[in-house]
Subunit: 404 residues, 2 copies
């Protein structure tokens, strides 16, 4: 990102005291939808006559502290740009893992942030991120109230792990789940070619929660028998139980496909490598492990249109919430009961999300603790539906890039 502002507003504010600027920041691990939320905030803000500059903070809260802001109106200059940004993975504005200290311990960061906000007449800050980012939303909102600043802070959730409380699901998750399902289906085809027994263990993200591994159950809705076993942290795990289950599946399937959350064997072990080793020792057949690695969070070329649309909409709704005067809240989805999948967007005090984690529900784990129920399939299916139009150039998806 080269178009920094560094203390100089790109355009002068008029004399109209009602006009103000806003800032957006992205934080935490990238997803395929986190730029779609940025596009949603940007688009809604650009339609709002009272809003002067739309700033992007470079590398999340670090950019707010260091006054490194990009003038987004100079970067996102057309509808075509917005469209490309929506299908570009990762964070246009960079990210950070910096945790804002409690204001009692270090007021310095807070003072710097207020200086940045004041200098650019920023009256609303949108923070797109995971649970850690909601902690920053709470702290900043409390600080601004304490020092009498009318600056609104709105959290916009994103997580390919789907582990943020309150919201029905997280923007970014549907695309990760779609990638995982499509890829596990392809690996299933690949695994079945030989006439001999094989066992393939596919590791998804999820160190503490099993949402993503569990979501591979959507393949069953399309008549696929794989994955034959699903292991998630919430169900408990033991090597012996796993080996027993696998022995059962070997009786039925020449190519056994197992999906596991990275966290099932504890944080110190790679689930994929550990299970590959003990499976090979026990069964002596062809055993493979595959990690979906960072691809599962950044594969925009097979993102879920539902996910990208919802990520965009929740970004736009965040601007509305700020305009309504809300602050210290996280935007969230609620599923409207009924046959048809529909969601509504609401706000929740961000403090209700901090320090919590949303686990995969115990009642959606099957009795054998090695799979999920039909209710889980119903939950996941709408989230992976729909395919965005991807623009290709030279056979490669085109990404929105502000700079090299």
């Amino acid at each position: 990102m080269q178009i920094y502002i560094n203390g100089k507003a790109a355009r002068q504010n008029g004399d109209n005291m009602d006009r103000f600027s806003i800032a957006v920041a992205q934080s935490g691990g990238p997803t395929a939808a986190v730029n779609s939320s940025l596009a949603g905030v940007f688009r809604a803000a650009s339609l709002c006559p009272a809003i002067d500059n739309i700033y992007g903070a470079i590398n999340g809260i670090e950019g707010m502290i260091g006054d490194e802001l990009a003038d987004l109106r100079r970067i996102i200059t057309s509808d075509e740009d917005i469209s490309l940004l929506r299908t570009t993975p990762s964070t246009l504005l960079g990210s950070c893992r910096y945790k804002l200290p409690p204001k009692e311990q270090s007021g310095n960061d807070y003072i710097k942030i207020v200086n940045t906000l004041d200098k650019h007449n920023i009256k609303a800050l949108f923070y797109i991120g995971g649970i850690g980012s909601m902690d920053a939303v709470v702290k900043l909102d409390e600080y601004f109230r304490a020092v009498g600043k009318d600056i609104r802070v709105i959290g916009i959730p994103k997580s390919s792990d789907n582990d943020i409380p309150v919201t029905d699901h997280c923007p970014g998750f549907g695309s990760a789940a779609k990638y995982a399902a499509a890829t596990i289906q392809e690996i299933t085809r690949d695994s079945r070619v030989y006439s001999t027994q094989s066992i393939t263990v596919i590791e998804t993200m999820g160190s503490r929660t099993g949402w993503l591994a569990a979501s591979s159950c959507t393949l069953h809705a399309n008549g696929e028998s794989a994955p034959h076993l699903i292991y998630i942290p919430e169900a408990g795990f033991s090597d012996e139980k796993y080996l027993h289950d696998t022995a059962e599946m070997v009786k039925h399937y020449r190519a056994v496909i197992t999906a596991v959350s990275e966290g099932v064997c504890g944080s110190e072990k790679s689930a994929a490598e550990h299970l590959e080793r003990i499976t090979a020792e026990r069964f002596g057949c062809k055993v493979r492990s595959v990690k979906l690695n960072v691809m599962q969070r950044c594969s925009s070329h097979i993102s879920s249109l539902t996910d990208l649309d919802e990520a965009y909409d929740i970004g736009a709704a965040a601007l509305d919430a700020a305009n309504r005067g809300e602050s210290g809240v996280m935007m969230a989805f609620r599923r409207i009961p009924g046959e048809q999948y529909r969601i509504e967007i609401f706000t929740e005090p961000a403090v209700n999300c901090v320090g919590k984690i949303k686990h995969f529900p115990a009642e959606w784990i099957n009795e054998s603790k090695n799979g999920v129920t039909a209710e889980a399939v119903d939950y996941f299916l709408p989230l992976i539906k729909g395919e965005p139009v991807i623009r290709y150039e030279n056979g490669i998806p085109v990404h929105f890039r502000a700079t090299q």
Copy 2:
């Protein structure tokens, strides 16, 4: 596959002695295009009035030896089926790694194969596979000639490694290259999010040849600076040279992206893990390694339309070659000189391919031995172009499946 014939023809041959049946087999490692070649043979054969049954041998040569044949007309029953088969990865008919022994050592396999062929009145055998499969084409053709059987054997190349001699490129390679380019671009976006230095090493297939790692240079045609370094077996490799090159790149790029063939560090080491370790030791920054694993050969959802079309066409051309009386040949592509990318299909005695391997050309390696030339980009670009229409159901690509 459940619709076996096992010694019983699905339909009786008429009295017309000119009518005959054919068999198709798939062998070696799966690719995203190997079913498109099967579809090409099938479609051309189904339009040929002289051809009675179209058999698929289950698990390659094993199915020919064991008389395990599928009646493809009962499995592929519509144009929709053909269309789906073209975008379904891996081998519909299964595969094998069985190497036919020299006929002097064991005539038994050959006698069984002839029995299978005779029983079903099969006069032409199409073998879709890699270099190893061309060995079978040569042996079978020689055997049939020696025993006075007029049975034609035609090899149809497939390789995601692109390592088969004679042909300009291999069906299956373009799709692997497209997947690798798209994925490396997405990993590049993902790697750039933080403000701190990082180095990402991405390992592609290619134990002996560097075609696939080299093909990631296509990203440069779209203005991407990554991959910043490319290492392939043909260029030679040393840890010290790699670390020196990486140190240079760290001066220029906050997120260094390196593509390596799995074979660069020798066959006993995982290139990704080895390079991750020595990079972390030397640079002390965030270092990641990513293996594109089996996904690079089976990701049909991002396959190259050029590749799928060519794979289909070379399958159809193989039927023509058999009808013309050719045997013991491999089908191959030749690039027609000119501004526009065009290919022609020709036949080459399969014996000219056996025991050989096509290396990445030395003259396309850059002077620093850590990248490729513009000529290489020109070679690769046409192969990854075009996107097939993928049918989705429930947000997941639909695969052609004869059975579960």
